[in-house]
Subunit: 269 residues, 2 copies
C-alpha cells in the first residue's frame, strides 16, 4: 500500500515509521521543508514529495489547518483521505466538502507531551484505540482502507458519530488539558519556591500541560462549544468543593471525594 | 532502635515494614483492632501494644486526629515524637503543647492512591523526600533521631518552616488533589458514556482523585486558608483560559499554553 503523509511531527512521524516497518511505501511532506528533510533522514518517509497519488493520504496537521491544507494537495480521484485530529465535526464537514465519501475522520488516541519527528515512535499505536467518524456519505471502501491501515500498525479501531466523539473527547482529554494548563499557570509565580518540592501527584496531574501549543490552540477553538460547557460544569464542582472546604464541612467533603473515586473507577471501567 | 507506630495504614504500614527490614523493633497500634491484627500478620509490627516506651513514636493518623490521638498515648519523658501528616502548622502547635521540644513535625512525600496495611510497601520511601518542620523550641536530639529514622529507610530529609511547608504543599499537592476531585466529579454523570474512551492523559491527570477520603478531608480542612487562596488563583487562571477559548483568541491561548509549559519545567527543575 502507498500512503501519503501530510505533516511529519510526532503523530505523522510515528505513523510513517510504523507503516514502513510493515512494508508500506510512504511519501510525505511538511509545510516546514527542514522538518520534512529530518523526517526522511529518520526513516519516517521513503520520499519527500507529492502525496496526491497515494492509496491513502493521512492529514496529520493541527485541526484548524486540515481542510485548507487538504484543498492544496491535488489528491487523485481514487485516493482515500483521513486525518488524525483531536476534534472531528469541523474536520469531517470541511473534508467531506472536498472529498465526499472518500474522506473518513480519524483520531488515534495516542498523544503524548512530545513533539516533532525526532519524537516519532514506531510502537506509538500498538494496542491504542483509533476512533473513526464515518458519516452516512462515507464509502465503505474508504472506511475499510483506513481501518486496515490502523490495524496494520497495531491499533484497535472503533467507529462513532463525530458529535459524540467531540463530546466524549472534550470530557476525557480537552477538559483535563485545560485544567492542567490552568493549574500549572496558577503556580507559575511560585515556580522558584516550589522547585524540587513537587511529588508524583503534581508530576502526573500536570504531565499533559507539557503538550505543545499549536495543536492545542486549534483543538480548544475548534471544540469550544463542548469544552466551554464542560469547563462550566467543572467550575461548578470546584465551587462546591471550595464552599465545603471553607465551611469545614467534613461530611460533604467525604461525600465529594468518595463520589469522585467511584466516578473515576466507573470511567476507567 | 525501638519505634512506636500509631496508625497502621498505607504510610504507617510501609514505615513499619521498612524499619523492621533495617533491624528496628516496631510496636504498633491502630484504633481499628482488626487493622492492627492484619498489620501484625503482614509483618508490619513485631507486636501490637502500647507505644509510649519507644525511642521514637510516629503518629500516622489523619492530621486533625493527631494531637488528640497523641494525648492519649502515655508517652514517656525521653521519647521523641513525630508524625507523617500532609499539613504541619496545626500539628506542630498541638504536639508542641504536649511534648515540647521532643516533637518534630514530619511529612514523607510518598503518598499514593492506595490505602490500608495490605498496600504497605517496604520500598515506599526509598529515594523520596521527607520534610521536617522543627521550630525554635525543638531539641536537636529529636531532629537527629527523626532524621536518622527516615534516612535508615532510604529517604532524603529536608527541614523547612511549617508555614512555608503548608504553602508549598498546598500548591504542589492539595490544589492538584482538589482539582482532580472536581474534574472527575464533573464527569461523574457521563461515566457510562465515557467508559473505555479515556486515554493516558485522563488516567494520569486524575490518578490522585483515587486517594482515600478520610485523610484528604482532614488535609483540606486543616490547610484551608492556604488552599482556598490557591483555588481562587486557579479559578482566575481557568476563567482567563475560558475567555480566550470563547473568544477564539489563538494568540492568547498560545501564550497561556507556552507559559504553562515553561512553568511546569521550572517547577520540576
Amino acid at each position: 500500500v502507498n500512503v501519503g503523509l501530510v505533516g511529519l511531527g510526532h503523530i505523522g512521524g510515528s505513523l510513517g515509521l510504523a507503516l514502513r516497518a510493515r512494508g508500506a511505501r510512504v511519501v510525505g511532506r511538511d509545510r516546514d521543508a527542514a522538518v520534512a528533510e529530518r523526517a526522511r533522514g529518520l526513516g519516517i518517509v521513503d520520499e519527500v514529495g507529492e502525496v496526491g497519488g497515494a492509496d491513502v493520504v493521512v492529514l496529520a496537521v493541527p485541526v484548524l489547518a486540515i481542510p485548507a491544507c487538504a484543498a492544496e494537495l491535488h489528491i487523485g480521484g481514487e485516493t482515500v483521505v483521513t486525518d488524525v485530529g483531536s476534534t472531528k465535526r469541523s474536520v469531517v464537514a470541511g473534508c467531506e466538502a472536498l472529498f465526499g465519501g472518500r474522506f473518513v475522520g480519524g483520531h488515534p488516541m495516542a498523544g503524548s507531551e512530545r513533539a516533532g519527528p525526532e519524537a516519532a515512535d514506531a510502537k506509538l499505536f500498538t494496542g491504542r484505540r483509533v476512533l473513526l467518524t464515518p458519516t452516512a456519505r462515507t464509502d465503505a471502501r474508504a472506511v475499510a482502507a483506513v481501518t486496515e491501515m490502523w490495524r496494520s500498525v497495531g491499533a484497535e479501531v472503533l467507529a462513532l458519530d463525530a458529535a459524540r466523539h467531540d463530546r466524549m473527547i472534550a470530557a476525557v482529554s480537552h477538559l483535563p488539558h485545560a485544567v492542567a494548563y490552568a493549574l500549572v499557570g496558577a503556580l507559575a509565580g511560585m515556580a522558584d519556591e516550589l522547585r524540587g518540592l513537587s511529588g508524583g501527584g503534581f508530576v502526573d496531574t500536570t504531565r499533559i500541560a507539557s503538550t505543545p501549543a499549536p495543536m492545542w490552540v486549534d483543538v480548544f477553538i475548534d471544540n469550544r462549544d463542548m469544552l466551554l460547557e464542560l469547563i462550566d460544569r467543572f467550575s461548578d464542582r470546584l465551587g462546591a468543593l471550595r464552599a465545603a472546604i471553607a465551611a469545614g464541612d467534613a461530611a460533604e467533603l467525604g461525600r465529594t471525594i468518595d463520589e469522585a473515586r467511584r466516578a473515576r473507577a466507573a470511567i476507567l471501567g
